[in-house]
């Protein structure tokens, strides 16, 4: 065996207690990092999927500018035909057209401003979770005409129930008055108050007739089998869209900038905390290796007298640290993986989490996901900082004078 490697390994265990303590700090922080990063990644994925699958979808086709200023006139022409074409070309069934208007919704004695959506009852359940959240009655059917599906809070505010009538009053695509009387077919409850208070869905064809859309709509909502396929699908959709109709494909980052910002803000604060943890571990290693170098000053003087260069000794110190870091990395990743695996089956929750989760339509228990990236990202950063922290003790050997070093006790 290489004597330098052997020497580095045995040097590591000259003071087993000190090495174990440093390793313990390293492993503990790695376990914490693996678990927290897994939890965080799992949570973000859930947040993204839940938020997008509730309503927005992974991507949408819209008229250019519609996303910033939702005017009735900015339309996707012949939206059903285009949706069918997209389904065929993408070989993806999760494509659904929508139209949208802001209206006054009146019951017998109450009126509220809401957003009414014209949806394709056949395809909407494939891109949105709202149709599956029926509390009373049923969701819209292809044969429906003047039926509406509303949120629980809106139903309560308007004091209506399944079978009751609701009057919708708004502006058509051409600016004329648009009005319709619809019957409540079903009531949903998502748990997100904003949605439950302000959304009503009616069949797209009925919407087009009521709001004089002439076959047009405002959004084609598309979901992909996996979040990672979004960019690829955006490019595919772009290539299918007619070039002269001013249509754009927007991914969820553009459609839900708040979601991305919330995640980014959370990542920033979390990574600051992780940074503090990593720096603390790095200082612990620095302390250990500096002590280790200082107490071996005499020995280093001797081997320098024998002709071993400071560079070789520096590499020895780096090798010792890298060995310790490697143990910390794999032990931390393994134990962190085990802890995460346990929570991935049993879930994780803490006081106050329910309220926070409800804001994003999330469950009150999170299930972290064990991935190779989450298992090794944190421990690799700790390893890197561990090795970096040994640079000072290693470089310090360059200033060591053999005679002075040999005089050291």
């Amino acid at each position: 065996m290489n004597v330098t490697v052997l020497l580095a390994w045995r040097n590591l265990w000259r003071h087993p207690r000190r090495t174990w303590l440093t390793l313990g700090a390293m492993v503990f922080s790695n376990v914490l990092l693996v678990f927290m990063i897994s939890l965080q990644f799992g949570m973000y994925r859930l947040m993204i999927e839940n938020t997008l699958l509730t309503f927005t979808g992974h991507l949408q086709v819209q008229a250019e500018g519609y996303n910033d200023n939702k005017k009735m006139r900015q339309i996707v022409p012949d939206i059903q035909a285009l949706s069918t074409r997209l389904r065929e070309k993408l070989t993806l069934n999760t494509v659904s057209p929508r139209a949208m208007a802001f209206v006054l919704a009146s019951s017998k004695d109450r009126t509220y401003g809401i957003q009414v959506l014209g949806v394709d009852p056949e395809h909407e359940p494939l891109v949105s979770s709202i149709p599956g959240l029926v509390e009373d009655g049923r969701y819209l059917q292809a044969s429906d005409t003047a039926e509406v599906f509303i949120g629980r809070v809106l139903a309560r505010n308007l004091r209506i129930n399944v079978g009751d009538e609701l009057t919708l009053l708004g502006s058509g695509r051409d600016g004329s008055l648009a009005a319709a009387v619809v019957v409540v077919a079903g009531i949903f409850e998502s748990g997100v108050t904003d949605l439950d208070r302000s959304i009503a869905e009616i069949p797209l064809t009925f919407f087009q007739d009521t709001f004089f859309m002439r076959g047009a709509g405002h959004q084609i909502v598309i979901t992909t089998p996996d979040l990672s396929l979004v960019n690829k699908t955006v490019a595919a959709v772009d290539s299918i869209l007619p070039k002269d109709e001013g249509l754009v494909t927007l991914d969820w980052n553009v459609l839900q900038p708040g979601l991305k910002q919330a995640i980014q803000a959370d990542i920033s604060s979390a990574f600051f905390m992780y940074g503090v943890l990593v720096v603390l571990v790095a200082f612990s290693v620095l302390n250990t290796q500096l002590m280790s170098v200082l107490e071996r000053t005499h020995e280093f003087g001797i081997v320098m007298a024998l002709g071993i260069s400071p560079g070789h000794l520096g590499r020895l110190v780096m090798l010792e640290t890298a060995m310790m870091g490697t143990i910390g990395l794999f032990a931390g990743a393994f134990l962190g993986g085990l802890v995460t695996l346990w929570f991935s089956y049993n879930g994780f929750s803490y006081p106050g989490m329910e309220d926070m989760a409800a804001n994003f339509n999330l469950p009150s228990r999170f299930y972290p996901q064990v991935t190779v990236l989450a298992m090794f990202l944190g421990p690799l950063v700790v390893f890197l900082f561990t090795v970096l922290s040994a640079l000072y003790p290693a470089l310090r050997l360059n200033w060591l004078h053999p005679v002075a070093a040999m005089r050291a006790a």
Partner: protein, 230 residues
């Protein structure tokens, strides 16, 4: 052939308010294959001279030549290379690496020299046998006596057959029997490999083995005696 040449070496240390002349215009020539003792009382300058010859400490002025090469102005890395390949050191306090076995201590320097594993094993076995440590190859320093440790240190110093071995008070921590055994090893190696030995000591017994004794006092050479070794 000249192994070591020192020309007008001066070295002054500052100790408190006082300047101490450790080397005071020392000039010296040592032939290859010599077995020489530097003798001086404590503070006489023998260790300083040994360090200057070994390139461990630079003189304030003067020149040091080893095997025809001037070394007093070499860079640290060049001096390390010189010591690694041409000079062996033996110290008073053995100074073995405590976590390595006798064999590994001997092999460590050879590995840095770039020798293959097989060659290292062959040479370390031979040299440990030569210094009388057969069977103790796998013991760590703490499991050996002072004399045995010093013989490992000697094996480490001479395993690469350096032209010059510098020993600083090598018998100071040994009993008389161990000292004699060690010195006999020195003499044997000197005869067998024609290695130049320069030993700093104030031990009369060591001087008895030397063929040349240089006496120093207050940093100056005061006597240079050729003699028949015991």
């Amino acid at each position: 052939m000249t192994a070591v040449r020192c020309i007008d070496l001066c070295k002054t240390y500052r100790q408190g308010d006082q300047d101490i002349k450790a080397l005071d215009h020392v000039s010296l020539e040592i032939n290859a294959g010599s077995f020489l003792c530097l003798s001086a009382p404590s503070g006489g300058g023998k260790t300083t001279l040994l360090n200057a010859i070994g390139g461990l400490d630079a003189p304030d002025s003067g020149e040091v030549w080893i095997a025809g090469r001037r070394i007093d102005h070499l860079k640290k890395s060049e001096l390390a290379q010189l010591r690694l390949m041409q000079i062996g050191f033996v110290f008073q306090a053995y100074n073995l690496i405590p976590v390595l076995t006798a064999r590994e201590n001997v092999e460590f320097v050879m590995q840095v020299q770039g020798l293959s594993a097989a060659e290292r094993v062959r040479r370390s076995s031979a040299i440990l046998d030569e210094v009388g440590l057969s069977g103790l190859e796998n013991r760590r320093p703490a499991e050996m006596s002072g004399g045995q440790q010093q013989r490992v240190a000697v094996a480490r110093a001479i395993v690469s057959h350096p032209a010059l071995v510098l020993a600083d008070e090598p018998t100071a921590n040994l009993d008389s029997r161990s000292s004699d055994e060690l010195l006999r090893v020195f003499v044997e190696l000197n005869r067998k490999y024609d290695t130049t030995f320069v030993i700093a000591t104030h031990d009369q017994r060591v001087m008895g083995y030397a063929r040349r004794v240089i006496k120093m006092l207050d940093g100056r050479i005061v006597d240079d005696i050729e003699q028949h070794a015991d």
